[in-house]
Symmetry: C2
């Protein structure tokens, strides 16, 4: 499945906080074919460091397919023989310098000054991400979704979609996600917590084989040297950061910190607007967005008489179960979409 | 119970990595009375930011007693009518500038140069903390313990005691602790993880009451302003850091990163040396030293036929259940000590 990034432009975008941003451009991708009455659209909303590249490959020799390729495609859980699947690069996308991502944020040129916005860019929210996606859909004549689904920060956008535009969203799938950013989440540091201890401990075992702890020549006895696992994480982060923009990171964190379903300081009210049949998938070793987030949303939605179900899965990847190992949940997703 | 800090000096201390440190001084405290045959000694080993101030008060108007005061004292779980309870300030104690703590580390004056050691101070380990404690005990003519007990980093020292000097330790109590620093722990950032989400979310609810998310004047829409919960954590950290030394922090982290019971790269072998009857107490919402640490040690010790038990407790403080709410485990500890 070869995919091509497309570009959508909004000449004047009004943010949730009331600011105008000119010439907003975002990238989007689609998989499958839009049917005649435009009733087969599934929107995929992406995670914190992700993009609209949810499935497929950019060229024949592209080694890394989109992050949910294992469940999006012909005959897969989200079957592109039947569905038109679409995804949009978020505003303030962190990978501002990735040639496959089109985003607007602090690293973009302000047409009024011909300089990068930097920290003059207005703070944007999950609702803004949703509104940009809606603009892309409307430009294609789409007036409603078959379903919206996303992992992690993508879950926040998916839930916000179902609350902000309930008549658009008959089905909602939240994977490793949350209906609000609580105090703990606001503080959370992402890089380590996205993976569970089991993952790091396996890496550590591979790194650690040479140094014996009772050998005074062990580099750990030099206070200026870091443990191998710390070096490994720092090097991984440095490699990833090459395509990232530091200001985009600040804005993206803030968009997460500001999130509460409905964007009205009232989680119950925000969730009460949802009309979608809803599936929450949690990873029981998730230490980033721990399962208590989804459990809380489910409790509230159940008390409101909503059609909501929760599937909790085991797996040593922790939070990233919802991205890297999503294929394990194929049958759950496939059967949910058939209902 | 009024207590007084005492000072113990070691003229030449040889570290586990083979370095000599001159004029090592550490503080210690004791509660209760040493009996004639010196058979009633319980050693308490302290946590990362703790000290030998495990119980009692420094003067009548002292508002804050030692951290385990709720279980150490007359008629308490660790009953000072019967036991002589002793605790020692660790080497490289982080609170180098606290007037109630006596420690030796990078902030100490090197007698050879009359300047602070800084990062020329040798890396020290849990075994070194144990050896300094042993020196204090031996200076009092003590040749064995009734029990050793400690929370968090104190658990590491307690387990190391039982492995390094098995004939000294007939009873071992590990609270919210671990028998080794694995890859995850080596990476862990302490300040946030010591408390569970429930705690921060309660604080956040108290901080958050003024700002409405749909008000464009909400300070969160200023990218230069931090969320209230982040400010709260930063201010708490700044306040605590006044008595801390940054180099001591580096060394203390390293001592933790280097820890594996027995200090021989082999956890099974290290644990196999233990002769103590052992109690592990875990906090099931602990996201700093998660219960899997203690569970792993228990599994290994059970396979070795050791006398070991595990008590897991619920509570919203997470890791800090083992310090702030230790009184909830009084009966478990009291009955363990009677066996």
């Amino acid at each position: 499945m070869i995919v091509k990034k497309q570009c959508h432009q909004i000449d004047e975008f009004t943010s949730f906080s009331g600011n105008t941003i000119k010439n907003v451009k975002v990238g989007w991708e689609s998989y499958g074919t839009l049917n005649e009455d435009k009733s087969n659209v599934i929107l995929i909303t992406h995670y914190f460091t992700g993009s609209s590249h949810a499935a497929g490959r950019y060229h024949q020799k592209d080694e890394e397919p989109g992050y949910w390729d294992s469940i999006i495609g012909p005959n897969k859980a989200i079957d592109t023989r039947r569905f038109f699947v679409l995804s949009v690069d978020s505003l303030v996308n962190i990978n501002a310098y990735d040639e496959n991502i089109i985003t607007t944020g602090p690293a973009s040129i302000d047409p009024d000054t011909n300089q990068a916005y930097g920290m003059r860019f207005p703070v944007v929210t999950m609702r803004d991400f949703v509104n940009v996606q809606k603009s892309v859909l409307e430009s294609l004549g789409i007036k409603g979704l078959y379903a919206v689904a996303g992992p992690s920060m993508g879950s926040m956008q998916a839930i916000e979609w179902a609350s902000a535009y309930p008549t658009w969203v008959p089905r909602l799938i939240s994977v490793i996600g949350s209906a609000e950013a609580d105090g703990w989440t606001t503080l959370t540091l992402i890089t380590q917590s996205a993976l569970a201890p089991e993952f790091f401990n396996q890496v550590n075992t591979q790194l650690d084989h040479d140094a014996h702890i009772s050998d005074p020549q062990n580099p750990m006895y030099d206070i200026r040297k870091a443990p191998p696992i710390v070096n490994w994480l720092m090097e991984s982060a440095a490699e990833k950061s090459k395509k990232m923009d530091a200001n985009h990171l600040l804005y993206l964190v803030r968009a997460n910190q500001l999130f509460i379903t409905g964007m009205q300081n009232n989680l119950e009210k925000g969730l009460s607007r949802i009309k979608a049949k809803t599936l929450f998938i949690t990873a029981n070793k998730d230490v980033l967005l721990m399962p208590y987030h989804a459990q809380k949303a489910v409790r509230i939605m159940q008390s409101q008489g909503k059609d909501v179900q929760l599937h909790d899965f085991d797996g040593d990847l922790g939070h990233l179960e919802g991205v890297s190992n999503i294929a394990a949940h194929s049958e759950t997703i496939r059967s949910f979409l058939e209902q």
